[in-house]
Symmetry: C2
Subunit: 466 residues, 2 copies
């Protein structure tokens, strides 16, 4: 039996030759109306789970539907590769977003088709074409090609394909906790993210964490007349502005002591690569009427949005906010303040640091109360993670361009759970494009994303198996 690396050229040839069949299999998957958020589609969700389990079984997986309290999860286990090959968990989801408004679809959402864009690209159009059925199948088709060429999988693989991602993965946390021993592998792979652009692959290496605080400052025990009390009575809006106004210094840096503890500098080569992307303010901010990045001045825009922590005032209210004038001196003012975390920033320490920062600046006669609405750490893959380095090399071989390592501002909660519950890192590689209309009518996935995505996984799996 050839090693995965030795088999790779034949595996890639097989993927190319099988493309039409791969697309046909994806179409069968896309025809299943697995809208997880609407109970009316529960049978369709079950059908999609059964489709996945059957397909995995055909590749030698011990696969079954597992109850979660909601739509079932599919778990499949298979051996493969040499004895020292790493064991991986692949996570994806078979459920899709609702299709409303249906009238905006050019063709029915569950009647997948190949179309050609005005600029000549072949695309697969259907609900779930990209998110996440198309992306999941890039991985499955790569496994299928290995199996066909070598007779086995390149690695020991556990598949976890859930059915509630589009409605919040409500039961997945408990499922992962209950089945920790079974699901914990050396690391996880996820295919639910984007390319940098149509020609540049990307690996998502960080998801920012979140601390969300409400701060309420109270001074007098009632609203006062500013003509009588102005100048003498403490004003909570002044207090709050003064405190929150100093949360950033003139260089855009957050001034809360200890805020940057656990934030690592990017390795020089990663930074150089990010720089090469030349993300311009016009590209990123132009669409919303802005021009100038507002973050830390000595950081590139792409660092500001992806790899650096932030502090933002999300809301603020106090005093008279109606039409015209009222000379009130308010008793109370409230702000909502959130922090996006990166690296090893400790959410509890950030929360404590913020509260201490406010209290230390609070004048006498002002009282403060805090409420918390969120406390989650960031997910940050070490830049020298061996699996990450192998995946980057593999992606470069396929696309001819170095894979960008990016951070996402939003959050894929399960990746945090993998880290916290299972102590397992996740490598997120995906082939979605910005124009895929994910969650919108006429969702599509480029045929190139599907085809080269499958080839990319074949290369990554071969590299990981070394």
């Amino acid at each position: 039996m050839p090693s995965p690396s030795n088999a790779l050229p034949a595996v890639l040839d097989r993927i190319d030759a099988e493309l039409d069949n791969s697309v046909r299999r994806l179409f069968d998957f896309l025809k299943i109306q697995s809208v997880s958020t609407d109970p009316a589609y529960a049978p369709h969700c079950k059908a999609a789970a059964e489709f996945v389990a059957k397909d995995l079984a055909s590749l030698g997986f011990d696969a079954s539907l597992r109850p979660t309290g909601g739509h079932p999860a599919v778990v499949g286990k298979a051996n493969g590769g040499a004895g020292n090959a790493p064991r991986v968990l692949f996570y994806g989801h078979y459920d899709v977003q609702p299709v409303d408004p249906l009238s905006l679809w050019q063709t029915p959402p569950f009647a997948p088709r190949i179309a050609t864009t005005p600029d000549g690209r072949k695309i697969i159009v259907a609900r779930g074409a990209c998110d996440d059925k198309g992306q999941v199948m890039t991985f499955v088709e790569a496994l299928r090609a290995f199996k066909a060429v070598t007779g086995s999988l390149p690695l020991p693989i556990t598949m976890l394909i859930e059915g509630e991602e589009e409605c919040g993965s409500a039961h997945l946390f408990d499922f992962v906790k209950r089945n920790a021993a079974e699901l914990k592998q050396d690391f996880a792979l996820v295919c639910d993210t984007s390319m940098w652009d149509a020609k540049t692959p990307a690996i998502t290496t960080s998801l920012r964490g979140l601390v969300y605080e409400e701060v309420r400052v109270t001074c007098a025990d009632r609203d006062l007349h500013s003509g009588l009390f102005g100048g003498a009575a403490q004003n909570p809006l002044r207090v709050l502005s003064q405190i929150l106004g100093t949360m950033h210094d003139k260089h855009g840096r957050v001034t809360i002591p200890g805020f940057y503890d656990g934030v690592k500098e990017l390795p020089r080569d990663i930074k150089a690569e990010l720089k090469k992307l030349r993300l311009t303010p016009k590209e990123f901010l132009g669409g919303v009427g802005l021009k100038i990045p507002a973050g830390e001045k000595n950081r590139m825009l792409i660092e500001q949005i992806a790899t650096r922590p932030t502090a933002e005032i999300n809301g603020m209210i106090g005093g008279y906010t109606g039409e015209g004038a009222k000379t009130v001196l308010p008793a109370q003012a409230t702000a909502k303040v959130s922090f996006r975390l990166v690296g090893d920033q400790n959410p509890k320490k950030i929360q404590d640091g913020f509260r201490k920062f406010v209290r230390a600046r609070l004048p006498k006669d002002a009282k403060v109360e805090f409420s918390n609405f969120g406390l989650a750490p960031a997910i940050q893959l070490a830049f020298d993670n061996p699996a990450l380095l192998k995946a980057r090399t593999a992606l470069k071989a396929e696309w001819g361009k170095t894979a960008v390592t990016v951070g996402e501002g939003g959050s894929i909660p399960i990746v945090g759970d993998f880290k916290r519950i299972l102590g397992m890192d996740t490598i997120m590689v995906g082939f979605a494009l910005d124009d895929d209309r994910v969650h919108s009518p006429n969702e599509k996935y480029d045929l190139t994303s599907f085809h080269k995505g499958t080839r990319s996984w074949a290369r990554i799996l071969a590299a990981l198996a070394e």
Copy 2:
């Protein structure tokens, strides 16, 4: 004919001897239900005006009811004193506040009576007993005593007793403007203010002015998701907090360049007197749950509230202000900011200074719009105004304590009009006490306020006639 000063002892004796008759005359005035805000009482207002005109005529005034577009004003003119005596305008009002809720009055509001307080003070109880019928009559009774003793008034006096003060003096501005030549005298006297306390007389020498601005900061052209744009897109709440948070320095001083232009230091003796009052934070702020004066740190509390300009944020709103968390990065934030002015501060310059202060601190990508809801200068009597000095000496002679010169946070608009339209200063002396329940049920005026108030005016008039 003795000079007013020489006649003063006899005039004071006369006032003492006439007290019962003076009270009887005040009672006749108080019985008239001159509620100006309710059209049903228009005949009563006219009756009150006629009462005043008739009384003034009995003292030798050429007095008449003058149409204003609303309730009539009473204007009376009389000569008096030596050729070099200053000509004065006395302003007061014959109208009173409504009496609701009637059920809270212990006796009918227009059935004046003498009562005794638990601590033994004699008081006159009725609507208008203090505001302003009782106060107006202290001046009129002083004139009556002069007339009785010397056969004439101590000075040339013009009386202006209006009937719409309690409903906003809507027609008075135009009336003063139309009759400027007739009403402009050397200075004005008003009896519509308070004592410092029951034993300490006071002269109101300043009324603070007002500049009221709304400032609206806009960054992106729509609300953004802070997970995606946080750190890179400018946040208008951050911008507004940073700007308004620096409007005061750590000493409580307003940092807007030129803000204190036109603010004069108090003369040392005035300051010393204010200090002697020992107004404590507990007295002034304790009632609303505060302890520490929030104004300029090197200023006494009484300066902060009465003689120094202020900048206050009266309201602020932006972003998400509902329950819980929303990670929005708002497009817009708005604040209402007002300034109380003193001395010669120029409202237009303050407005310009504030707008320039905001614009100079506005980061690129932030736009600002301003709206104005108020622009009025302060009224400030020079501390070396000769009439003021004479009034202070006279008050000290009557009360045995130096008269405090105070500033009022609120505003008596007509005093500003006298200054702006007629170029005429006003000396405000009044004998109201904090517990007079002005505008409330069971309004009262201490018999001492009425009696010694009348004696005070006799002394002031004698001094002014010198």
